[in-house]
């Protein structure tokens, strides 16, 4: 591993989690790390990179180029370049799944639908405006109301036989609606399926302006929720692929762009 010294990194500082990927010049992921972002994005960036470097047994000095991404991308003082998470997700997904033409990315604070051309370039995109409905935060709030772990709600929702209808598109109003439905004696499976359907419906409508073309790839932390994946597939009428590590696609893309920038510098 140490024989190949063109090592680059991508750091993705998201609203909920911060991710880092260490990559070699053969585009092989040497290591990655994921930590909660917490209150200090600068510290989160330092820490996540340090963990990833430890895992790969490299030092900071050996990293030749770093690209930062995510909401906190500008806070990463050690990065050589900051690139938006939309561009990075496209690069990360395309490197793994060359047939991808649509990315649905749902993170802690926002959701995006990204259209790609045959070369993996972004040709269209849409993001949610302001509102938390349609984001990971929405699911966290609902899981909290039902006193469940966020990682468990997707599988529980799939056991529903009679999904509730959650009509509110606002997180706070949906929470009130959930409390009322719970008081009516609806099962948690049905409540959760209703929540998953409501959120997926919102994201699916948002992405219509971009259009859904196969292959559709689902990234971000929420992509690990199989309930949302199923609900989204039902909404858009297409199968959805989930990468092995959907959370790190932004950081991976950042690392790939870091490598591309480094190679460009060499050429120049």
């Amino acid at each position: 591993m140490k024989g190949n010294r063109l090592i680059v990194a991508g750091v993705d500082i998201g609203a909920a989690t911060t991710k880092a990927v260490i990559l070699n010049n053969a585009n092989k992921v040497l290591s990655f790390s994921i930590i909660p972002t917490g209150h200090n994005v600068v510290q989160a960036g330092e820490e996540v990179l340090s963990i990833a470097l430890d895992k790969a047994a490299f030092s900071r000095e050996e990293i030749r180029y770093i690209v930062s991404t995510g909401y906190g991308r500008r806070a990463v003082a050690f990065a050589h370049k900051a690139v938006t998470e939309i561009i990075c997700h496209a690069a990360g997904v395309s490197s793994n799944m060359a047939q991808a033409r649509t990315i649905i990315d749902i993170g802690g604070q926002d959701s995006k639908v990204i259209g790609l051309d045959d070369g993996g370039n972004v040709i269209n995109f849409v993001m949610n405006d302001k509102c938390a409905a349609g984001t990971g935060r929405f699911l966290e709030v609902m899981a909290g109301v039902l006193d469940l772990e966020i990682n468990d709600i997707g599988s529980i929702s799939l056991m529903s036989e009679n999904p509730c209808t959650i009509s509110s598109t606002c997180t706070i109003f949906a929470e009130s609606e959930l409390v009322s439905l719970r008081a009516e004696g609806r099962t948690r499976e049905d409540l959760l399926r209703g929540i998953h359907n409501a959120m997926s419906h919102r994201v699916a409508i948002m992405g219509k302006s971009v259009g859904y073309r196969e292959e559709v790839v689902f990234t971000g932390g929420v992509a690990m929720n199989m309930g949302i994946k199923k609900a989204l597939e039902d909404e858009i009428g297409l199968p959805i692929q989930v990468p092995e590590e959907p959370q790190i696609m932004g950081a991976l893309g950042a690392a790939i762009l870091a490598k591309a920038n480094l190679e460009k510098e060499f050429r120049e």
Partner: protein, 467 residues
């Protein structure tokens, strides 16, 4: 004797003699606006951050806005009668009324406050909050421009008008907000009743009856001016006024021409100062603005000669609809992503379709012009799409279009997503639909907006390289 505001006014292009001559008026105005020494420091930093103060023409434009602000604030104290018109409707009748009346202040106070209390002092929020507390509450998607107007009246910043002109031929919220003026201040409101009904696909065709109806409403307005204000609207005033207007816009178009250079020589925020001044003011602001533009033109010409610009040569060139009235940092953010903004959509001069009938009255002629090519066409969703595509076809070398729409303005917001698809299909120019608020920077997340714009910039750069 200098005072705490002297440096800022000089930064905004005022001569020392002008400051000396106007000290009592300046102090009275700043007192009413609750602007003290700390506000001057904030303003100094804000202006330097967002405007190119190495250009005297830009400084003079800022100064022109301040002079108009003083005239507005003190109009009643100085014994003037006051007419407020709504932006963007009723601008042309407003200008005609202004040209007919000596000793009457005529203007669009909300737009003036956005450009001064927002762009210069970065202190618009208390006025917006006063609007929210006085009939236009937050969280109801109400237009910030109207919140500014109502808030400024409620705070006693601007004087209640003797007459306010409202119309829904573009903006339905304006006439509703002006209801509040009547309720709170007993202000006589003259409604120019308009029609927003327009079928998809109709434009550039239109029913001549609509122009006749709107024209009759304008004519009725002129009669009302005589009744309420006591002077007659002089239709020959139009002819007297036109040379000045033509000169102003002729010089403005010279700036638009210069902005087509590569690299784009100055920021779009500087051009906006000049172009909106002409529709928000009818008095000293426009006269001072005309002088400022004359100073700015050779400064920009020099930049073009020297290949100086705000974006790199060869940068992707985008058209936006309109910069923010109150917060120039938004356009600066777009430019900082490496995009050049050579022109705004509303500044493109597209030849309107010919009139369907010859009208006999001034009101009808104004109305016909509004429907064919003025803001009146924007009430038609199809007209808006048609116009934006025509703009992109007319201005050469545009790589992308940012449809930065006012999120709470139905005529422009409702069409935003279909417009993106329509424009992309018709012109092949990628379009970013960007939610915005030209009067209230509290309404959006700068970080989320930046992510969209940076991604769009990256898309355009990749596309430009590929092509």
């Amino acid at each position: 004797m200098s005072n705490y505001y002297d440096d800022l006014l000089q930064l905004c292009g005022w001569e020392i003699e002008e400051i000396e001559n106007e000290r009592p008026r300046i102090e009275k105005t700043f007192q009413r606006l609750e602007l003290g020494p700390e506000d001057m420091e904030t303003a100094d930093a804000w202006v330097r951050q967002n405007h190119d103060v190495t250009l005297m023409g830009v400084r003079k434009l800022l100064g022109a806005w301040l002079k108009e602000l003083i005239d507005l604030i003190l109009a009643k104290d100085e014994g003037k009668k006051i007419v407020y018109y709504s932006f963007p409707t009723v601008v042309r009748p407003g200008m005609l009324i202004a040209a007919s009346a000596e000793g009457t202040y005529v203007g669009g106070p909300d737009v003036i406050l956005c450009h001064t209390m927002g762009q210069i002092f970065n202190k618009l929020t208390p006025i917006l909050e006063a609007g929210e507390e006085n009939g236009l509450p937050p969280g109801h998607a109400l237009c910030s421009i109207w919140q500014v107007k109502v808030g400024a009246l409620a705070k006693g910043i601007i004087p209640p008008p003797d007459m306010a002109i409202a119309s829904s031929y573009f903006c339905d919220m304006g006439s509703k907000a002006d209801d509040l003026l009547a309720e709170i201040y007993g202000t006589p409101i003259e409604y120019v009743d308009g029609t927003m009904d327009s079928a998809w696909g109709e434009y550039p065709d239109y029913l001549p009856e609509r122009a006749e109806f709107l024209g009759a409403q304008f004519n009725q307005l002129f009669d009302k001016v005589k009744e309420v204000m006591g002077f007659e609207v002089d239709f020959k005033a139009w002819d007297k006024m036109m040379p000045t207007i033509r000169q102003y816009f002729g010089d403005l178009y010279r700036i638009f021409e210069l902005m087509q250079a590569d690299p784009v020589p100055v920021s779009s925020v500087e051009v906006e100062l000049a172009s909106i001044l002409a529709v928000a003011c009818t008095g000293r602001g426009i006269a001072e603005g005309a002088k400022a533009i004359k100073i700015l033109i050779p400064e920009i010409e020099k930049r073009v000669e020297e290949n100086m610009g705000v974006a790199e040569k060869g940068a992707p060139r985008v058209m936006i609809v309109l910069p923010s009235f109150s917060d120039p940092s938004i356009v600066r953010m777009i430019e900082n992503t490496g995009l050049a903004i050579p022109i705004c959509a509303l500044d493109v001069r597209v030849q309107p379709p010919p009139p369907k009938v010859q009208h006999n009255t001034v009101g009808e002629r104004i109305a016909d012009g509004e429907i064919r090519g003025g803001v009146g066409l924007f009430h038609s969703s199809f007209g808006t799409c048609h116009r934006m595509a025509a703009n992109l076809e007319q201005v050469k070398g545009i790589d992308g279009f940012i449809y930065n729409y006012q999120f709470n303005c139905r005529p422009v917001a409702q069409v935003s997503h279909s417009l993106k698809r329509w424009v992309e299909e018709k012109t092949g120019v990628p379009c970013l639909s960007l939610e915005n608020d030209i009067g209230d920077s509290r309404s959006y997340s700068a970080a989320a907006m930046r992510t969209r714009v940076e991604t769009f910039a990256e898309m355009l750069k990749t596309r430009k390289v590929a092509n």
